[in-house]
């Protein structure tokens, strides 16, 4: 096992779990076999071995780079971020194409996107895997403003990138239909991308699947931010909490021969973590990924959020201080003290609260209601939804929403029934 694998597993353990509610909606899925009923455990652990879909071990997942804004001058600190990195997995015959959009802070090559790519490639699709607009590389290379989290602007940036990728592929592939899906924030993005496509008509998406999307971004990030309140003794005791976790983790690491597929599940069981600790862990990992995102935006725009305005940091600069400050700030701070002031001029008639709450699927509920190509796959016990928010999906999508009784936030995405559901969503009715 290489260091990198360890890094991926350990931080994967912390980071992949991007993000879940006291659900009131009634379960629509009978005899559901996903084994983890606790919503925090499901979110962190995912799908245990033996329950996963049968997917190919390797697929031709090719990393690609594309220069979206050739004339853009990047600050020296993020000099490496000029080209957007994504991946394509192509069939050698005419096939439908599907775009995958990753969740908060996640990359095109994160575990969930790679698993989806395997499932869709196996089902005969061309696959284009994209990072979330909240992934730092997207901010530096593909975001027009450098300040992400804005539903329409993120959709436009994604759409532009998709168009350029397809234009570049040109005659290399034959596409029979275009489709899009995404999980978590990526599902939210997919809804807005689909709406934009109704005007632009570059793709005329055949099907759109939203997997565990938030309803209101602000509500979801507030929930995630508040999870750090579960740190025993409060934030000032974070170091002790974290030390304890690392120690417990190291004990399991020592006893295990290799960090294999089930490592996280075993680690969770051996560590005997309580829900509060898991919530704290989720909150911390969310903060880590939002920290590097927001700092990237600050550097790109010279806004003066944590870095003094006008101070040009070079690629060798010591960033400890900024890293430490970001560790203390939530994503909600970003929306109030960076995002809103940054966009204020463009929306003079909207109050701060109106502006922030408008970033929601409710804003486009009419479109979602009438657009039969869009379907939703969600979990009743998702941790990123406020109590009652799950009902939004049943109300708006009706029988186009499938709400699984358990699974937490995206924990069941790799469960065999869910994978079959995802694939069937896009293969139904295709010759």
């Amino acid at each position: 096992m290489t260091t990198t694998h360890f890094l991926q597993r350990f931080l994967g353990g912390l980071c992949l779990l991007s993000m879940a509610s006291f659900a009131t909606a009634k379960a629509t899925v009978e005899d559901y076999g996903y084994p983890i009923t606790d919503r925090f455990v499901a979110t962190v652990v995912g799908t245990p071995e033996g329950y996963e879909a049968d997917l190919p071990k390797s697929i031709p997942f090719k990393k690609r780079r594309i220069d979206i804004f050739p004339d853009r001058q990047l600050p020296d600190l993020v000099w490496y971020g000029h080209e957007m990195i994504y991946a394509e997995v192509l069939q050698d015959r005419p096939a439908p194409l599907i775009f995958l959009i990753a969740g908060t802070g996640a990359a095109y090559n994160g575990g969930k996107n790679v698993n989806m790519a395997k499932a869709f490639y196996k089902a005969g699709f061309h696959v284009i895997s994209l990072s979330s607009p909240t992934f730092p590389n997207f901010v530096t290379s593909a975001s027009t403003t450098g300040v992400v989290g804005h539903s329409e602007k993120d959709a436009e940036d994604l759409y532009r990138a998709m168009e350029m990728i397809i234009a570049r592929l040109g005659d290399d592939i034959e596409v029979t239909s275009y489709n899009v899906t995404g999980y978590s924030l990526g599902g939210f993005n997919a809804a807005y991308v689909s709406k934009l496509d109704e005007e632009r008509k570059s793709f005329n998406f055949r099907r759109v699947l939203l997997i565990n999307p938030p309803v209101s971004i602000y509500n979801s990030i507030s929930l995630l931010d508040r999870m750090t309140e579960n740190i025993p003794g409060g934030e000032d005791n974070f170091n002790q909490f974290f030390d304890k976790l690392v120690k417990a983790f190291s004990k399991i690491y020592k006893d295990s021969d290799e960090i294999g597929g089930d490592f996280l599940y075993q680690a969770y069981r051996a560590m005997n973590l309580q829900d509060e600790q898991l919530a704290a862990l989720i909150g911390v990992s969310f903060r880590m990924s939002s920290g590097s995102l927001v700092f990237t935006s600050d550097v790109m725009t010279d806004f003066g959020y944590v870095k003094p305005k006008g101070l040009m940091l070079d690629r060798y600069a010591n960033l400890s201080e900024y890293n430490q400050v970001m560790g203390r700030l939530g994503f909600t701070d970003y929306y109030h003290d960076f995002f809103y002031p940054f966009y204020k001029e463009q929306y003079p008639n909207m109050s701060r609260d109106e502006f922030i709450t408008a970033i929601s699927l409710r804003t486009i509920a009419d479109y979602l209601k009438s657009s039969t190509k869009i379907t939703v796959m969600h979990n009743e016990n998702d941790i990123i939804l406020e109590p009652g928010e799950i009902d939004f999906f049943n109300e708006v999508f009706g029988d186009r929403a499938t709400i699984y009784p358990v699974g937490g936030h995206c924990g069941n995405m790799n469960y065999r029934d869910n994978v079959a559901h995802m694939v069937a969503t896009f293969t139904e009715g295709v010759q």
Binding site: M1, T2, T3, T4, H5, F6, L7, Q8, F10, L11, L77, V78, Y80, A107, F135, P136, N137, F138, V139, T140, D236, F238, N239, F242, D243, V246, S250, Y253, K254, D257, E258, G291, S292, F295, T296, D298, G304, Y305, V306, K307, P308, K309, G310, L311, R315, Y316, N318, L319, S320, E321, Y322, N323, Q324, V325, M326, G327, R328, L329, D333, F338
Partner: protein, 250 residues
């Protein structure tokens, strides 16, 4: 052969000196407006970040980090891609197993030094099986037989005997390390070279180092700067340090 490794070892301090001598002269202080969230208001005085690692040579380390990226782009990764294009997968797996067999020998030696009979017997079992039934290590029969594969090196041996890590160090071409682990590379290298010297003819020995390097890079998925995060350097630094700490305890 040895001289290549020696040069690598010598290069690090040389670069250190270069970095020190190129420190720019102090400029007149520019006063910048305070950001929305300034450290002195947000971070309690005296608090230490959990991911702190002793890194007095950060400036030099970041320059080597940067150099490694460029070496990857222009030399290392193109060579790896060429290797993958020319050599079929089963042959690459054979080469990989061949070098892994030497890593098991390294673990044998370091298990003795760490007074660990269990690891010694496991690694010895692997080497015996793989060197014979596995045709000089080309086929990894031991893993198929479920013989555990402990991984010990001289850096960990030093750690076992209580030697501290010293400052964090980014090694040219090799990446994250620290003074202790960097020093530990040398005895391990001498050992591997000694055994290969017995086994391989001279031209083969020379190419062994090259193929070992290509194989190692091929099997290391890490790519510099690809997390996109401006904090990547310190995240990698912390992860490496934590991982090594756990490895020493393991």
């Amino acid at each position: 052969m040895k001289s290549i490794m020696l040069r690598v070892c010598v290069l690090a301090p040389a670069l250190l000196l270069a970095a020190c001598s190129s420190t720019p002269p102090p400029k007149p202080e520019t006063v910048y407006p305070e950001p929305v969230f300034a450290a002195n208001r947000v971070v309690p005085a005296g608090s230490v970040p959990i991911t702190e690692v002793y890194d007095p040579w950060e400036g030099m380390n970041k320059r080597i980090y940067n150099f490694n990226y460029h070496f990857d782009q222009w030399v290392f990764l193109p060579v790896v891609r060429g290797w993958q294009a020319v050599v079929p997968e089963f042959a690459r797996t054979g080469v990989h197993n061949f070098f892994e067999n030497f890593r098991d020998v390294r673990t044998m030696a370091n298990s003795i030094l760490q007074l660990s009979p269990q690891k010694f017997f496991e690694s010895t079992g692997r080497v015996l099986v793989n060197s014979t039934v596995g045709l000089f290590g080309v086929i990894d029969v031991a893993t198929a037989m479920d013989i555990p594969k402990p991984d010990e090196d001289f850096g960990q041996t030093l750690g076992y005997w209580g030697v501290g890590t010293g400052p964090y160090l980014v090694l040219p071409l090799l990446g994250p390390s620290n003074v202790r682990d960097g020093v530990g590379l040398y005895p391990d290298f001498v050992l591997q070279n000694y055994i290969q010297g017995d086994l391989l003819s001279k031209p083969l020995r020379a190419s062994a180092f090259l193929f070992d390097s290509i194989d190692t890079r091929e099997n290391t998925s890490f790519r510099y700067y690809e997390t996109g995060s401006a904090f990547e350097y310190q995240t990698v630094r912390w992860l490496y340090s934590t991982k090594r700490e756990l490895d020493v305890e393991k």
